[in-house]
């Protein structure tokens, strides 16, 4: 085991403690950066602990890395990043997410609004929704292939399944939590039927619906790897399976990092919805 990663990690941890005691806050990116440095150091230490020397027939010894280091991963990723391979796979994954998640929104939000508003609909569908919700989308893979074949349809179906239940449940909860006073005000001014939904029920529930979309999109992105294990020939999930089969663990780690970074981007984009004027009232300002 070498000492540099340990030393760097200790320096970064030390900086975090110093930052805690400082009166003037440091730049916002400094603390996450320090955490990142510690993580990379731990990764390096872990990878080194899994390496070993092999004595070869000619008397020399060769160091075998059974697990890729951060440096090896970065080197390996240079080529697929520059020739557009990563971009192609990312776009393929995002398109599947868009289709599956879009479908889940198109079905989940109206269904949730309806079941949140009508007690009978709620009583009718909620037990089924709650029973289907804990079943991992991975369990559905067999049926997905049976129904949609080993094509995009299967992957989209799995992503749909992973996100539709959180959306339905979140929307139901959102509608049921609408204060009675809004509904009464609306009825007082003669709003009824679809107009009541459009002008009061939907906007009143929207902040909580957006929160459930955020959760659902996170889950959908988690499931992308499993969904793309079905023999599709593109996507970051496919890249992971494919690299593993080829024994290229550095590429596996690189694709994993890409999934993490794109995940941050997806979450950020949903959070942008929270700043819209018509929903901002529903989100308490959190000190950052």
């Amino acid at each position: 085991m070498s000492w540099p990663p340990i030393a760097i990690a200790l320096v970064a941890i030390g900086l975090m403690f110093v930052a805690r005691r400082l009166r003037d806050p440091w730049p916002k990116w400094l603390l996450p950066l320090a955490t990142g440095v510690v993580f990379v150091c731990l990764w390096q230490i872990g990878a080194e602990s899994k390496s070993y020397w092999v004595h070869q027939d000619d008397g020399t010894a060769r160091l075998v890395w059974s697990s890729p280091t951060p440096g090896q991963t970065a080197l390996d990723m240079l080529q697929p990043l520059s020739d557009g391979t990563i971009l192609r796979h990312s776009v393929a994954s995002l398109l599947r997410i868009a289709a599956g998640f879009g479908l889940a929104c198109a079905i989940g939000i109206p269904l949730g609004l309806w079941a949140g508003w009508s007690l009978r609909t709620f009583q009718a569908i909620n037990p089924l929704v709650q029973a289907l919700r804990p079943i991992s989308p991975i369990a559905w893979i067999a049926f997905a292939i049976l129904w949609f074949g080993v094509r995009d349809g299967s992957a989209i179906f799995l992503i749909f399944l992973s996100s539709v239940f959180p959306i339905v449940t979140g929307t139901i909860t959102a509608v049921r939590a609408i204060p009675l006073i809004y509904v009464r005000s609306a009825q007082n001014f003669g709003l009824a039927g679809l107009e009541l939904f459009r002008r009061v029920v939907f906007p009143a529930a929207l902040p909580q619906i957006i929160t459930s979309l955020r959760i659902a999109l996170g889950i959908a992105w988690v499931v992308i790897v499993a969904a793309e294990m079905i023999a599709v020939d593109s996507g970051l999930g496919f890249l992971i399976t494919d690299s593993r089969n080829a024994g290229n663990y550095a590429r596996v780690a690189g694709a994993m990092i890409c999934i993490g970074l794109i995940g941050i981007g997806l979450d950020w984009s949903v959070r942008q919805l929270e700043t819209l004027e018509s929903v901002r009232w529903g989100f308490r300002k959190i000190q950052s």
């Binding site: 005000s185 929903v279 901002r280 009232w281």
Partner: protein, 260 residues
């Protein structure tokens, strides 16, 4: 009984509350909230309903407004039984009755959806100005103070030219100075538009400053203890002997001594 005149005649009450009782079933027993409340309110009258917290005065208002159905008895407005909420009779709630997802302009215009566009704009303009919110049309409720929010609720209610306005402790959430200003505001608007107002509160001074008549309610199950007339012209001098006399009487009826 003598011959009744046609509905709308001056002698008929605007609102008639006839022996209204309300009982809520509970797990093991029943909760008697209102006990045979009978009250007539004339058109254009400002009536305050005064009682301690939780005595059932809000329940009474909800029944008169058509949001709840009494266990027995009935409510008539203009001689017709109340069957549900109606845009001609508008509620102003203590808080949050206005929509936080819509700006001031859209909130005030809520009840004007069926009118032509230019008329909508004209009426909304008028009432936004009337409650002193000119310049805040694009502002969202969360960026307004409590008093301004209540003005939005008032403007929204008045914009539909209601003949009855129900106010359920509309100033309860405001600080005492804003509350005084808003009382003056409500009086100004009432004197201008002359709608019938039923105003629920537990604030003794508020009732004497606002009402033509004060309906004092007993604790649960609420009955009408007494109806106190306020024969004072507006603006009212809160230091006058008559004011003090009414105040004493109200405290007495509520069963508390105002001298501490």
């Amino acid at each position: 009984m003598t011959e009744r005149t046609a509905p709308g005649a001056a002698s008929d009450p605007k609102v008639r509350i006839a022996d209204v009782s309300m009982v809520f079933p509970r797990k093991h027993d029943e909760l008697h909230v209102l006990d045979r409340i009978a009250l007539d309110v004339k058109a254009g009258e400002f009536v305050c309903i005064l009682g301690v917290s939780g005595c059932g005065k809000s329940t009474l208002l909800n029944i008169v407004g058509g949001f709840e159905v009494p266990t027995s008895g009935s409510v008539q407005i203009d001689g017709k039984p109340v069957t549900g909420p109606d845009p001609r009779r508008v509620f102003v709630f203590q808080e949050y009755g206005i929509f936080p997802w819509a700006n001031v302009w859209d909130n005030v215009a809520l009840g004007l959806r069926d009118k032509p566009r230019d008329e909508q704009a004209r009426i909304t303009r008028h009432y936004v100005d009337l409650v002193g919110l000119t310049g805040f049309e694009e502002t969202f409720p969360n960026e307004l103070s409590g008093g301004m929010r209540q003005r939005v609720a008032l403007a929204r209610a008045l914009a539909v030219s209601p003949d009855v306005v129900f106010m359920d402790e509309p100033l309860g959430a405001l600080d005492s100075l804003t509350r005084l200003q808003m009382r003056a505001e409500i009086l100004r608007l009432w004197q201008r538009e002359r709608m019938t107002i039923l105003f629920v509160t537990h604030d003794v001074d508020e009732t004497i400053q606002l009402a033509d008549r004060i309906v004092v309610m007993s604790p649960r199950p609420a009955r009408i203890t007494e109806i106190v007339n306020v024969p004072l012209a507006h603006p009212r001098d809160i230091g006058s002997p008559e004011y003090g006399r009414i105040k004493n009487r109200l405290y007495e009826l509520l069963g508390v001594s105002h001298a501490i």
